[in-house]
């Protein structure tokens, strides 16, 4: 019953993402939070409008604004505008998202970081790397299926090879034999990237408590991926929720142990951490989708 509900929600979500109001291309006109983008793109469209500067030889997008005394040279001006816009995402849920950002921030500093630091002090690095390899190996079905769905047959094949090699020679996946001895690297794909491959936009930005930043599309992808994760199918019956959550927690803490400090650096570097994280998420996902 629950699965049926999730399935229906997923289908509605996908249809939603496809709708022009939320596709990445139509964004500037749709979303109120991207007003500024709209101004930028519409003013850049005014190419044929008379340009007040005399030195004009470039075909670049110059905005037809009245001359100001501090006007830089034409070339500098056009470089400043020519720089392509990064990927954008709608953020209609921003009050919720900002609240969740604060929740996650506290969660990181009060819970995740201390637990991880305690964990790291007890568990030596080699063992943590082995655990990391194990969890990566176990989640092969997710990458395999996503590679297949994107018609990346060679990568899908590689994932299969990696799984067999690591399970056998890496000894149950604790060693990454395939990367070290066979030089076959992981082809990181997930359902969210598969959706991106077929042109489905993010929909909008959502920050989940504890799970962190995501988007409508990627959240649906995440749920879909969990169905492919072996954790759901271990044992004669299904693993109890507590045990599954516990294993997931271990995986996350183990993974975080290699990334302590990055979040702090990001906060320190940012003028507005919430926006910085949102933008970093969107850029990162786009890069992964392009790979």
């Amino acid at each position: 019953m629950i699965k049926l509900i999730i399935l229906i929600a997923g289908v509605i979500g996908i249809v939603f993402c496809f709708s022009p109001a939320f596709s990445d291309n139509a964004l500037p006109s749709a979303s109120p939070c991207c007003r500024q983008d709209q101004e930028v793109t519409s003013s850049q469209g005014e190419k044929p409008a008379p340009i007040q500067d005399k030195l004009t030889e470039d075909q670049d997008e110059s905005v037809a604004k009245p001359d100001q005394p501090q006007e830089p040279s034409d070339q500098e001006e056009s470089i400043a505008e020519e720089e392509e816009e990064g990927p954008q995402i709608a953020d209609p849920l921003s009050p919720w998202n900002k609240a969740m950002y604060h929740v996650n921030d506290k969660f990181y500093f009060w819970v995740l970081k201390p637990v991880t630091q305690g964990y790291s002090s007890v568990v030596p690095e080699d063992m943590r790397v082995s655990f990391s390899n194990f969890y990566e190996n176990v989640s092969t079905p997710i990458r395999f299926v996503s590679n297949l769905l994107q018609l990346k047959f060679k990568s899908a094949g590689n994932e299969l090879v990696r799984f067999v090699a690591n399970s056998l020679f890496g000894v149950a996946g604790f060693g990454d034999f395939a990367k070290e001895k066979m030089d076959i690297k992981r082809h990181d794909e997930d359902l969210g990237q598969t959706f991106a491959h077929y042109g489905i936009g993010h929909g909008f930005y959502i920050v989940w408590p504890i799970l962190g930043p995501s988007s409508l599309r990627d959240s649906i992808g995440f749920v879909g991926d969990r169905f492919l994760h072996p954790l759901g199918y271990i044992g004669p019956g299904e693993l109890s929720l507590g045990a599954a959550a516990g294993i997931y927690a271990h995986e996350e803490v183990n993974d975080t142990s290699f990334h302590i400090g990055e979040y702090e650096d990001l906060k320190k570097a940012a003028i507005d951490p919430y926006i910085s994280i949102r933008d970093a998420y969107v850029q990162h996902r786009q890069k992964k989708a392009e790979e």
Binding site: V40, E83, G86, E262
Partner: protein
């Protein structure tokens, strides 16, 4: 027959990539990054007392490595014109301080890892992207530097870490801020941040 072979040799020679021009951006960045890493790894410069010296040394390198004026213009984009000359100058200085700290912190985290400079791609007539990889125990982190040729020198105008461009990231932040605040207020925010950091 002879003519044919000499033609072939000429063709082969022409097809052989000219390493000299192509590798200048790469060696430039590699040199700068290695200098910064050397300072960060220097055991003599550990601790609070040495922090100032460390910062000054890295400042010298970063002035050579980055083109902060270019960075500032590209980050603010169309908003650059809304700052008067005074404000532009101050922005460049404040932005430089913020970026240096941010970049240094990131590089610090990787100072014990292996950094490999791999290759470069031409992006346009005078811009190039140099790709490097930081090899950690569990993953490889790509850090790419985008350079522009200015006055005969290659200078960095963007750093892309795991697909996230520094310029784009800051541009989004500044744009949201400038949607509600004036340039002077933005400068106030930046002054506070640099004063604190």
């Amino acid at each position: 027959m002879k003519k044919f072979f000499s033609g072939l040799y000429l063709l082969a020679f022409l097809m052989f990539p000219l390493p000299l021009f192509a590798s200048v951006p790469l060696t430039t960045v590699e040199g700068h990054v290695n200098s910064v890493l050397k300072i960060l790894r220097d055991p003599a410069l550990k601790g609070e007392a040495a922090k100032k010296t460390k910062k000054e040394k890295i400042r010298t390198i970063s002035e050579k490595m980055f083109d902060f004026a270019e960075l500032s213009k590209r980050t603010l984009g169309p908003n650059w014109k809304n700052f008067n000359t005074e404000q532009q100058k101050e922005f460049i200085t404040l932005y430089r301080d913020i970026l240096e700290d941010a970049y240094m912190d990131r590089i610090m985290a990787y100072k014990d890892e292996k950094v490999i400079f791999q290759k470069e791609n031409m992006l346009s007539g005078d811009t190039v992207e140099v790709q490097s990889n930081v090899i950690t125990k569990t993953a490889e982190t790509p850090i790419n530097y985008r350079l522009i040729l200015k006055g005969g020198e290659w200078k960095v105008y963007d750093v892309v870490i795991e697909g996230v461009s520094l310029i784009k990231n800051y541009r989004t932040q500044f744009r949201e801020i400038l949607a509600n605040k004036s340039p002077e207020e933005l400068l106030k925010v930046l002054r506070k941040k640099v004063g604190k950091a």
